[in-house]
Symmetry: C2
Subunit: 430 residues, 2 copies
């Protein structure tokens, strides 16, 4: 049995306590699998007196998390505080600069400062583990950096936020609207009081920045991601999607195109029988299209104490076993600064829902605008008849460019017979 | 850039040529990801003159694969010959004993000799990679040994053979019988002339032995697996499964029970909406139930040149990066010799199909036998009426033991009104 790996944990919220619990409960198992004990020796949190579901007897307590970075009896710091800046970032920098390993679940920090922290870790020859930062219990970081590392990735896409997937799932099952389902999810504790990070796509975009960096060997660039959340997805869109053979999912998608690296996070319609369409409720799912491996799908719980702790401790196991890899799959000094493809060059199919006055010639006008922008119609639903009143028109397009579709929609939206701003959802095919 | 990793390949069939192609095509990508070139230097195959889809110029040729083990200019041997014994095993032993790394796609060899080869590799402090031996392009070995290593595994199950899953999928879609679909699959090249390894479950059982070893830290024990193939699955069973809300899949299942480690490979009915039920055609899928991570599902291509080469080269990348792990997740000397749970102690629900004479009292007799064995009926289908003639009775049971069900079926099979041996398929719930 080798020397113990000595661990300090910063942050004792749900995830921090989950890690403490896992390390205590599986002590023997972990020692057998790594050949040395993984020993929790110190913790830090703001409020020492707060009741917690785990025993902290015998552990050193640091009132200031940053003190963990200077504790000479610690080999690895687990940063479980959160936040892109502030104490978390300071702790991360100090830990790595001091030549200690860092494990973090902090997707926001890495999406913004990942390249800098990777350089720091590699310069000091220490590990920076972040399996817990993306998709909780799903070992996707390891899959991309190691398991699928022989492949050029063609595209990677996934459901990266459990709260918004839960809301979309309940909307579909119940036929209710976004606001109502969100309120219920908040009452049940599945959504935060301020749901913006989840439903506006920010949390998922942080994760997409990391996945894209791993898949394409570039530095994480949150700023390069086109982000739209799910607030504008209506019950009507979900019903039409069903009728057209689709489900609506909030997807993060990254692919290399001729115009550069395309990174986008927005609601998508996906064919009902696609594996990603089956990922429901709070589950996360990720599809990697490798040039050689083909399509690989991973699905599991993206959040919660158990799944996140499983990922944090997997990183500790790697460190205990002596694994030292380039943090983002290639040495930080070699990370590419990929040209970012503007959204206008995106190619794909589109779903459009319009509310129009039911009178002769309206459809002809709309069709003419689409033709003028070289957008061809794949399917069209205009069922209700309500002369002189408002009726919906729903259509899907064949593949076109975002630029053409945007221009067409701007023109359509300005037609007198079109009563509301057009609703558009991109279609993503497996 | 570090020293090149020098690779020799034994076996230039579909997979061997796939690895050659990948190493040549992605040379630069691999060097960037590992920090050193992965250089193919020697190959071996039986017939040097045979036309192959890859260029072998400048590579040393060994007529006898075993010579690779003694080639001083080789760091890693890729054994892609196959077969549990013979040259493959000899090459594996000599390579490891000589202090060289081994990468293999040979599930049969590892299912039978995995513990011995792991001991040998660890004694010489070299790597033994076998990602390609299980589920092709899906990085499941890495997921179990590393990504999910913090977890106690509750159960692992999966579709591990693409050929049999393809046959079951086509049977369901077409309503045709096994023999007909097999013949078609053979004509299309999806099934071997001798299909036994695939359709009798042997190939999948080899993989299950490896997954169970990784999940539960024991030595691989092919001999402890209860194996049944898909030959006895009738078109009628598939239709009844559909009616009852199930799909039939050939699953390998391993779980720890009070009676010991249960390992079984047989057709199962799984609920239609379970993720594993969605894995269709030649795809493989694996579900890991971790105590902390929860349910994690992995799906992808289980065979073919690309996916298998992707896995072989992933192992080469690990070796080039200096990763040295216990081959089976815990040091070979610490592998448990788990007690093997006899099939009679298996607990689960069952699907039964009987062909009986349609006359009064038959159902009462069958129900009485089940009651006497404490098997309770969950659902029953007896639709056709054909007085005095043969009609099917289909039922599903609540949870019971294999021992009780076997005894009841033996008794039911001996009833005069029961015309054919009862057909039984186990139900596996997510």
């Amino acid at each position: 049995m080798g020397e113990p790996l000595r661990v300090g944990i910063a942050g004792l919220g749900t995830v921090g306590c989950g890690v403490v619990d896992l390390l205590q409960r599986n002590q023997e198992l972990l020692a057998r699998r790594t050949g040395r004990p993984i020993r929790l020796v110190a913790v830090s949190a703001r409020d020492r007196g707060r009741p917690r579901p785990v025993a902290l007897d015998g552990l050193r307590w640091h009132g200031d998390a940053r003190a963990l970075a200077e504790d000479p009896e610690i080999d690895v710091v687990c940063e479980l505080i959160g936040g892109a800046e502030g104490i978390a970032l300071e702790l991360a920098r100090r830990t790595l600069a001091g030549g200690r390993h860092l494990v973090t679940a902090n997707k926001a920090m890495l999406a913004h400062h990942g390249a800098e922290l990777a350089r720091l870790a590699e310069a000091r020859e220490v590990a920076l583990g972040f399996e817990a930062a993306v998709a909780g219990g799903i070992p996707i970081v390891k899959a991309l950096r190691e398991g699928l590392a022989a492949n050029r990735v063609r595209r990677i896409y996934g459901i990266l936020n459990g709260t918004s997937n839960y809301i979309l799932t309940v909307m579909r099952e119940s036929g209710r609207d976004f606001a109502e389902v969100l309120a219920e999810a908040q009452a049940l504790g599945y959504a935060e009081a301020d749901p913006s990070f989840d439903v506006d796509g920010i949390d998922a975009a942080h994760k997409l920045a990391l996945l894209a960096a791993l898949a394409f060997g570039g530095r994480p660039r949150f700023d390069a991601i086109h982000v739209e959340g799910i607030r504008h997805v209506a019950a009507a869109d979900i019903a039409y999607a069903d009728e057209l053979g689709y489900r609506i999912k909030l997807l993060g998608v990254a692919r290399m195109t001729e115009a550069g690296l395309e990174q986008r996070l927005h609601p998508c319609m996906v064919p009902k029988d696609a594996p990603i369409a089956q990922v429901e409720g709070v589950f996360n799912g990720i599809v990697v299209e490798g040039e050689d491996a083909g399509v690989v799908v991973l699905e599991g719980r993206g959040a919660g104490a158990g799944p996140t702790a499983s990922a944090v401790v997997a990183d500790l196991i790697d460190i205990a076993r002596g694994l030292r890899l380039p943090v983002l799959g290639v040495p930080a000094a070699m990370l590419a600064d990929h040209r970012s493809a503007p959204m206008s060059t995106h190619r794909g199919s589109y779903y459009i829902r319009l509310m129009v006055v039911d009178r002769p010639g309206v459809l002809a006008d709309i069709a003419a605008v689409l033709r003028d922008h070289e957008v061809s119609i794949e399917a069209l639903i205009q069922r209700a008849r309500n002369p002189g009143q408002a009726v919906p028109i729903v259509l899907t397009s064949h593949e076109t460019t975002e630029a053409a579709m945007s221009a067409a929609l701007a023109r359509i939206g300005s037609l007198a017979a079109v009563l509301e701003p057009p609703r558009m959802i991109r279609i993503e095919r497996p």
